[in-house]
Amino acid sequence: MNSTWSRFNITSIVLGFAFLYLPIVLLIVFSFNESKLVTVWGGFSTKWYVSLFHNQGLMDATWVTARVGVISATVATVLGTLAAITLTRYTRFKGRVLFSGMVFAPLVMPEVITGLSLLLLFVAVGLDRGFVTVTLAHITFTMCFVAVVVQSRLVTFDRSLEEAAMDLGAPPVKTFFQITLPVILPAIISGWMLAFTLSLDDLVIASFTSGPGATTLPMKIYSQVRLGVTPEINAACTILIAVVAIGVIIASIANKRREIQRQLDEQAAQRG
């Protein structure tokens, strides 16, 4: 393998990364802009961050988003995990293929259709649109993602672990909580995080199913942008990016360290 930095390699990397990150870098840079005009640089300032925390509308929307995200991700994780267990374990019931197809269909369903159909449902049953409906909608569309993540872990789960637990005297329910759940917990946690992230940045479905008093952050940002981008929005987005980036970095570092530790342990075990 030729690993030297040829001119071609450098060019393609610079172009690629510019394509991916230039817009984000611009956004971050302009969040520190002194000027009120988004596109004109007027000097460095953090005043938009200060004013952001005094913008009651944005703060309310953040709070709504956080609550919707936590509740919907939690419920979706429970339901998605149950679905995944059923689909992996009870492989012989009639209509399993249809059922699993239906669980995963929302993965590829256009969000507009999901949103619209949910809206129609809520109207039909007379449910007032607001916090509850957004949360329900987010549960619906994030559940299948959780199911996919948990199912992929369950497929490689060694069933003899459960048999061993039962053989040693643990009834099925105890076996589930003491053996199965702890072993698949990492997958369930990543399922939860995925569901939370999806809920956090959903705009389309929230727009369909939300009502007065339950405006989520993406909706708020979108509506403000339509009235003109303010540096405040840039600041809000920068904070969002920072939160997500820090989360991803921590998760991957933790993962990497666990992996290295595991390899070291295994090598040590092999040596005796």
Partner: protein, 379 residues
């Protein structure tokens, strides 16, 4: 103190008509959809016996074990343990424990917690659990590994944790599913003897499933040879090897030469067989073969003597030429092509370093064997 060997020699409840059976498979059948895994099988295992189920994969031996553990219910028939019918009793209420082929150690628990798991389910008080776990760790020589997790152990250590965990509850019966399958050859041989010692020390009944005949021969008091969901023969290792009752068993365990033939003459003490190609064989014991019936004569390679001159006093002598010679160090294996075309495998122990009269390719050779060297098989 009695040596292991002498205890073993005295132990033969299967020959005692008054011995109480401990585990009984009574006409057990297990079907999976259209596949019959176990077919109308009856089998008796005695207390404190080291019993091996030996067979190729798919012969039903693992299904038998899983039915005993309670993971599968028989489609028909009964399984009795110490007189109690096991039907409908779930695995977590059965007084048997199993050691799994994959060991099935709980990855999120330390060695200690793994061993304590079964005891906790029983509701054993904490101090007693600690004592028992310490005892088990001592038994499998893993005291200093108590706080390790399974992935921090080597394969041999994991195997011993699995063993300790499965005997910690002092089950009536320990089931072992290919217990040594994942170990390398050297470790496997050591562990075979450790398992035998452990079984003696704890006085438990062991039922082990294996596809490795050497493993079964080394460890077991009795072996059941299985094929296609049926038991072909149940006997001690020596009987299985020296007195197989069918072609399948003779073929399955060790190497064997088979001659097709017909019983030409049958008296109380001798049976004369005419081979399909004309060879004459005289044997002491004709078994159940009646005069005139078609049979198979089976003889082990080490029971056949090869010589470069025609032996004068042998009862059974066949002539041919050396087709192949394989020198294996401790012994030499000859393939002799008889004049009728059949190839006979004979093995000779290399008792001295220098052979006076070495046979080599294409030499004329005579094979001979005693009248009691082989067995007559009717099926």
């Amino acid at each position: 103190m009695k040596s292991l060997g002498s205890i073993r020699r005295d132990f033969a409840p299967w020959n005692d008509p008054n011995a109480k059976p401990y585990i009984q498979f009574d006409k057990v059948t297990k079907k999976f959809a259209d596949f019959i895994a176990v077919n109308n099988l009856s089998l008796t295992i005695f207390e404190r016996e080291f019993f091996a189920l030996l067979g190729a994969s798919g012969c039903g031996k693992s299904t038998l074990l899983r039915m005993l553990a309670g993971f599968e219910e028989p489609s028909a028939g009964r399984i009795l343990l110490d007189g109690q019918d096991l039907r409908g009793i779930p695995p977590y209420k059965r007084p048997v424990n199993m050691m799994f082929q994959s060991y099935a150690l709980f990855p999120h628990m330390t060695v200690e917690k793994n061993i304590a798991f079964g005891l906790k389910q029983e509701g054993m008080p904490g101090p007693d659990i600690e004592k028992r776990v310490a005892e088990m760790l001592r038994l499998v020589k893993l005291e200093q590994f108590a706080k390790r997790k399974p992935h921090q152990l080597s394969g041999g250590q994991r195997q011993r944790v699995a063993l300790a965990r499965s005997v910690a509850k002092r089950p009536k019966v320990l089931l072992l599913d290919e217990p040594l399958g994942a170990l390398d050859k050297k470790l496997r041989e050591e562990t075979q003897f450790e398992l035998m010692d452990l079984q003696q020390e704890l006085g438990l009944t062991f039922v082990v499933v294996t596809h490795d005949q050497e493993e079964a021969m080394t460890m077991a008091d009795r072996i059941a040879i299985m094929d296609k969901g049926e038991v072909m023969q149940v006997a001690t290792p020596a009987e299985i090897y020296e007195a197989p009752t069918s072609r399948f068993v003779a073929h399955f365990v060790g190497n064997v030469n088979m001659f097709e033939g017909r019983v030409a003459e049958r008296t109380a003490s001798t049976t004369r067989i005419t081979g399909a190609t004309g060879a004459q064989i005289v044997v002491d014991n004709g078994g159940a073969a009646a005069a005139g019936s078609d049979i198979i004569f089976a003889i082990r390679p080490e029971k056949i003597k090869v010589s470069s001159k025609k032996p004068a006093d042998a009862v059974n002598v066949l002539e041919g030429e050396v087709y192949d010679v394989a020198y294996l160090g401790d012994m030499t294996v000859y393939h002799i092509k008889l004049d009728d075309g059949q190839i006979v495998r004979a093995s000779a122990l290399n008792a001295s370093r220098i052979t006076e009269d070495p046979l080599t390719w294409n030499d004329r050779a005579w094979v001979s064997f005693r009248p009691d060297a082989g067995v007559v098989l009717t099926r």
